[in-house]
Symmetry: C2
Subunit: 603 residues, 2 copies
């Protein structure tokens, strides 16, 4: 969060809300927080929070559920397998860290309104990245006018900060770094926790710069230089500045990454992290990726994430080239952040699944915004063209088996099937996966399209996704028919988005003498095709969840995330899988219901 | 033009058309060209073409008008002030050169079908960049399977090529350089003309590279190194390669610009050209801009143009930074090309106003595609943010006075006006320009929007453009309501596009000791505001022309180009100008009809 647009735009709203707020009577009425600006740990002080147990139904502001029980997580627009706060407005994921068997998700949260403002760090935890348990607010502002803006968290195994005593298990030593926003400055601060719930603020700023646009720290322990490194955005100067520290308290600027990619209006949420290469001669090797969110100013409108693959030498990030790549072809994937301390040399991440162009106006209540599906990231060599190899961030959902429900349809090797309609019975969340085959040397037209159309219960509204075959093939999402009342009046709720599909490099046909050959240099066109039948196979997966669709092509080579809002309280109820002309074949199809992660709240 | 997508996709179509073509009976039936593959100058051989006179109504393939007379340039979707061919498919502008008082516009043209393929260089000329006279095809393939692909043209004043004799005036010595496409190669070739109409091919390739993806030469006489330079796209390697030559025939590779910006599937149409700085301490200084079109793979889907401002040292282009910028925020501006030899240190350019995602399917007949309005380009210092200065390509229509018609509405200093409806009487082409004022310190919301809604005659369909105020303000185009029949079925015809608005640097408040201060380094926030009343003024201009809208903010700081297709043969007939809330004021408004450039064809 935080453009001056929103600060400016919401000034009037915030003031209006404060003056109209009810008098503080019900201690569980989340709205009263607008008046009192709850201090850190107010919720926790009740002693009810823990990292285990069946507390999933706790309110996101730490109070009991009395203020919201009746319709908890059952609204027609409420995703069932995506994280969202019980009430009010959420944006960026923050403080992502794996600690003592638990995945922590903090997030930018306004506990008092369903628009941005009054920023706190909300908190939830999971053991599988799908089932989330709401915890009380972790970090709150001290006084009116302050905001706890985005940041991240690390595990201080060796107690370099001195914040912990010997009795705290090493992997429970959580240090959060966040931006304290005021009208006159943005400065960087620490808070720490020994139990993963209660946070203590370290007094004073650890980095300040006489800046109002300086935020979103992403710190990590740097193995190369044996010290802490933090990336911070000089948002309106379009610079990412790196600092180093031995103890998280004393920081020294070491380098700057300046004016790369799409600038837009501001850089936000820098994230430098390591990602394993998947497949090929570098399989398992960890490489660095720098991600930067920008808002507004995405070419597609509003918010988006761009990234560079490169080298980190302990002080400086050097991208492999001057090209800019994006993680998601659609409009609702922003403030991307990776988990620190992920076990097993894996990279996991999540993003806010909305866009500042309309996120404060979308027709969801009493909450606004969700986090994306958790993603597992790898780097893979792809062939964007027959003449070019590229190391691309692969981006697929974390294994969905944790939430798999009933199989609604399953076919394999059904080469003759052209169209298939499957009723979507369940709670509104489904995993639809198909493989399409374009036979060798088939002529293609603009209508050589394989697609899913997911209908609302009324049979009229629908959201679509598909693949237009060709060189390159193109994946798209089309939400034009998915609800009119919001889309028709909002000038920024773009209907159609698309991205081009690359092809996995065919390692077996390339010389392996030089790893660079996998990156630059020709491969035969047959690298596009299956080696046995010279056909082209494309796998399309759509995870649809009431008001969001996330599309993955070829297990994450390409991803697209779009929210949509059916009118009249409709939820997904039927999918039609079809191929646009008879050259294209539906090879296999599986449709599964996904189980609500909030089901315990409904018992 | 030319992705293998289209080659592959159209193979079947081309074959089908050839077999279904009529027997050659009518010598003016343009369709027969499908069979005979007309050789270069077939049309000119009739001796009817000239650069002057009232021949504007000639068919685009050089024949008389008998095959098309009845509805010439009168279709409801036919723009009246934009260049389009009488019949069949046009794409990239080519060979843009100013010669002997005449602006030449060549273009990629399929004289035989209303989809891409069978590429020729079509030709038109103008003395004001608005009124175009169709001339016969300038360069045609010699045999089936060849295509005359994109390229440009230069004036060989000093006859370095030896193509001209002393009697040819120096500024009539036109040399075109184009790509010859076959199934197995793309090579670069020359053709020359002493009269601006008839072209003679120079035998053989002047640059070849054992490449099938090597095209779109843009040559110019380089003042820095006193030799010819050409930029060429290694399209699927994502490189722009520069060559030098003393004589346009013998070329030596001198440098390469590799892997910058958005890569997409291919680089096309590189253009390195000089642009004057407008205003500020560098006023009048010429700087270099490198533009690259990419398709597909634009973040907004399909085709777009990106550019870099930088230095050219006679051999190598070095961008000022690693950021990438775009010329147009919407979907229909591609294959940008500038005119060589423009008089008076000015930069003029044009682009194809469509997108390969749907250009071969849009509901226009018997023609497809138009060129954009001609643009005058300058470089201006802008403030994308209070903390950052940037040299941005300013992009405004060439002075419209050449086609100005009746004034339909004109108000000035009408501070109290909030909404204004003006009937659009004329031929379907209009210039709508308004200035909006946001008073100092006004609170803004998401509804602080100033907008134009241009209605079809049925009063139901409309295309919209507007500005949402804020920091930054955002301009948008919304074609969601402008016709359903095409938009609802095409998965790539995106409805809503937007771009952020920057602010002119306030030179008078900045130190002028160092020109770089205008580029990097803080300026006071007041640079955003008018110095007298601290209000924010934004000027919005929409040129709407039957099936296209081009939007310009603040005289070209931001531009957006969108085609749209009203159903039921409707044309623009009414505009409503409105402000979304009462903080915003409509300061002045002028609505003018624009005169059809094709009117002589209708007499």
């Amino acid at each position: 969060m935080k453009s001056s647009l929103f600060a400016a735009a919401l000034g009037a709203l915030a003031a209006a809300c404060a003056s109209a707020a009810p008098s503080p009577a019900d201690p569980f009425d989340f709205r009263q927080a607008a008046l009192v600006y709850p201090r850190m740990n107010d919720g926790v002080a009740q002693g009810q929070a823990s990292l285990v147990g069946n507390g999933q139904c706790r309110n996101s502001n730490g109070s009991s559920l009395s203020g919201y029980q009746p319709a908890l997580y059952t609204e027609s627009v409420r995703p069932q397998i995506h994280f969202s706060p019980t009430v009010n407005f959420m944006n960026d994921p923050n403080g992502l860290v794996y600690s003592n068997g638990t995945w922590h998700l903090f997030y930018q949260y306004n506990p008092t309104q369903n628009v941005a403002g009054n920023q706190h760090w909300g908190h939830a935890v999971s053991t599988d990245l799908y089932h989330w348990k709401n915890l009380p607010i972790a970090i709150a502002p001290e006084k009116e006018g302050e905001g706890i803006f985005s940041g991240n968290a690390v595990i201080d195994f060796e107690n370099t900060t001195g914040f912990f005593n010997g009795s705290t298990p090493k992997d429970q030593r959580i240090v959060a770094m966040y931006t304290l926003n005021t009208d006159t400055s943005q400065t960087q601060h620490l808070a720490y926790s020994s139990d993963g719930i209660h946070f203590t603020k370290y007094p004073g700023a650890v980095i300040s710069r006489n800046q109002t646009q300086f935020r979103d720290p992403k710190a990590f322990w740097d193995e190369k230089s044996s010290r802490w490194i933090v990336a911070l955005a000089l948002s309106q100067e379009f610079g990412i500045v790196f600092y180093s520290s031995p103890n998280m308290k004393d920081w020294t600027e070491v380098s700057r990454f300046q004016s790369y990619g799409i600038l837009g209006y501001q850089y936000e949420c820098p994230d430098l992290f390591q990602v394993p290469v998947e497949g090929g001669p570098d399989d398992g090797k960890m490489m660095y990726v720098l991600a930067i969110s920008i808002n507004p100013g995405a070419l597609i409108g509003g918010s988006f994430v761009q990234y560079w693959v490169g080298d980190w030498d302990g002080s400086k990030f050097t991208p492999r080239d001057n090209a800019v790549r994006t993680m998601d072809f659609s409009k609702d994937f922003y403030a991307f952040s990776s988990w620190n301390n992920s076990p097993g040399k894996k990279a996991y991440a999540i993003a806010w699944a909305n866009n500042w162009q309309y996120s404060q106006q979308v027709p969801t209540s009493p909450f606004r915004s969700i986090q994306s599906l958790p993603r597992e990231l790898t780097l893979k060599y792809y062939r964007p063209t027959p003449q070019f190899g590229d190391l691309i961030l692969n981006n697929r959902p974390v294994n969905l088996s944790a939430i798999h429900g009933k199989t609604l349809y399953k076919s394999e090797n059904g080469n003759s099937a052209r169209n298939q309609t499957v009723n979507l019975s369940g709670q509104g969340a489904f995993d639809i996966t198909a493989t399409f085959k374009l036979p060798a040397n088939a002529n293609i037209t603009y209508n050589t399209i394989a697609s899913f159309e997911i209908f609302a219960g009324d049979g009229k509204q629908s959201v679509k996704t598909g693949i237009q075959m060709g060189e390159p093939a193109v994946a798209y999402i089309d939400r034009r028919g998915a609800g009119q009342s919001f889309a028709a009046q909002n000038p920024f709720f773009t209907d159609k988005t698309s991205g081009i599909i690359r092809y996995a490099a065919n390692y077996t046909t390339a010389s392996s003498e030089n790893a660079d050959q996998y990156v630059l240099g020709p491969l035969p066109p047959s690298a596009y095709l299956d080696s046995t039948d010279q056909a082209q196979y494309i796998k399309l997966q759509a995870v649809v969840d009431r008001s969001v669709i996330e599309v993955f092509v070829n297990d994450g080579e390409l991803a697209g995330t779009s929210v949509f809002y059916f009118d009249n309280d409709q939820i997904p109820s039927k999918v039609t899988v079809s191929v646009g002309d008879n050259k294209l074949q539906l090879v296999d199809l599986e449709v599964r219901a996904l189980n609500s992660i909030w089901s315990k709240c409904k018992e």
